[in-house]
Amino acid sequence: MSKLLEVIDMSISFKMYEKGFRQSYTQVINNLCIKVSRGEILAIVGSSGSGKSLLAHGILGLLPNNATMTGKILYEGKGLTEKRIEELRGKKIALVPQSVTYLDPLMRIAKQVRGNVKNEERIRKQKESFRRYDLCENSEKLFPYQLSGGMARRALICTAEQEDVDLIIADEPTPGLDIELAMKTLRYFRELADKGKGVLLITHDIDLALNVADNIAVFYAGTTVEITPVSDFLKGEEGLRHPYTKALFNAMPQNGFKAVKGYQPYYKDLPKGCLYSPRCTIAKEECSKSKIPMRQLRGGMVRCIYAT
């Protein structure tokens, strides 16, 4: 499988003002590495506020002005420069945004989905995707505020289907959708992947991700802590590598619903060594000494010294 997207050592930091004109830089994403091949669905799961959406926005060049990004992004083997992403965005790389507030509140949704062009081909495509997601003809003329949460979500998904894209970045496409619709969306992503496209699926719903994805990348505090094939996740706790991933697994309602103590460190005072060490049950002195690199383990990757 050829590589479609590769993110190498990405870091994103924000310039912020403290008191008066004093500025400070805070790093929110550190040394992040992921790759998506053609035909692959890579699911990204992880804690809220761990920078999953930032990654999506970073790839698409949609970061705000006060953000600085370092590291490399390769798309089809070539660097993704600002100019190049502008050409590809929306045509070859599509985003399903996270929040329904991304819809223009003053535009009827059908028009919004197909873009501001009158063209029979586009209209046909838009109607087709509306039908696929059970959005009835009447809803085409509605404004976003008239839609239910799930309907707005479906409209957002439709927008990503309008062009013949190679890479879909879906930032939590399923909240608000019932299981049937969520599965329909994900099956459609699977179809696209099987046709040789790549999908980057950012989600909280591990259950759903396990159904369609090939690999899962686990995020914590702005970095990847584990990349694992789905099959290992299905094996349960023993199959997994990083203690955080195990904690995620145990917190699922069907696996005990246990929450580990503490919370994700705030990006201003990140621990020096392993970012998870303050909450980790197997952490030892060594963990907090220096940054932990990713390493290969049992066909996956993990950022932990003691993982077996």
Binding site: V45, G46, S47, S48, G49, S50, Q98, S99, V100, T101, D134, N138, Q146, S148, G149, G150, M151, R153, R154, E172, T174, P175, G176, L177, D178, I179, E180, L181, A182, H204, D205, I206, D207, A247, L248, A251, M252, P253, Q254, F257, K258, A259, V260, Y263, Y266
Partner: protein
């Protein structure tokens, strides 16, 4: 106490009925799951139960009486989209103070750091904001909570954390809870019974 919706029907202007003749009730100390497909009117029903929307037909009764339209509403709603339901111009501390004095032990249990209180909503992630909308309803004047898909945007650990806090609070204070959710496993785990809003109820 008993919160009941009697023969509730609802339609938006110029549309068909979204649902008709719904009867739903929650007792104090009970956790009821509300499950339905997308677009079937779960959020609308939640708003009606909390008194934020008037049903086209039928009524909502709290212990046989109508909901008060002045003062603190004993039926509190937690919205699906926290970024839309919190005033973007208020600092988080003021958002919490609107509901009453801040219980620092409680906000800690929910996973809010004190440092967040001085920030504006735009400076927090969706999951972090949702903890605030949970914190502001967990209040001693609250008798019923309607939770409209509050945990879908949270990671599973935070989900477990927040639900455990809510459930503990609900049990301790004998509060009735309606939990709207799509997650079958979650509903089975936390609910005493599940109410399905189905096609037969629609006009």
């Amino acid at each position: 106490m008993l919160l009941e919706g009697k023969n509730l029907s609802f339609k938006y202007k110029n549309t068909d009925y979204l649902f008709e003749n719904i009867n739903i009730s929650v007792e104090s100390g009970e956790i009821v799951g509300l499950v339905a497909k997308s677009g079937y009117g779960k959020s609308t029903l939640s708003k009606i139960l909390a008194g934020y929307e008037t049903p086209t037909k039928g009524q909502v009764l709290l212990n046989g009486k109508k909901l008060p339209n002045k003062g603190y509403n004993p039926v509190q709603l937690i919205y699906q989209h926290p970024e839309k339901s919190i005033n973007p111009r208020m600092k988080m501390r003021d958002v919490l103070l609107e509901a009453g004095p801040i219980d620092y032990d409680l906000i800690k249990a929910i996973g809010i750091e004190e440092d967040w209180l001085t920030r504006y909503p735009l400076e927090l992630s969706g999951g972090e904001l949702q903890r605030f909308s949970v914190a502001r309803v967990l209040n001693e004047k609250t008798k019923f909570i309607i939770a409209d898909e509050i945990s879908t945007m949270l990671d599973v650990i935070t989900q477990a954390q927040i639900w455990n806090v809510i459930i503990e609070f609900v049990n301790k204070r004998n509060i009735g809870l309606v939990a709207v959710t799509h997650n079958k496993h979650l509903a089975e785990k936390i609910c005493n019974r599940i109410f399905y809003l189905e096609k037969e109820n629609r006009g």
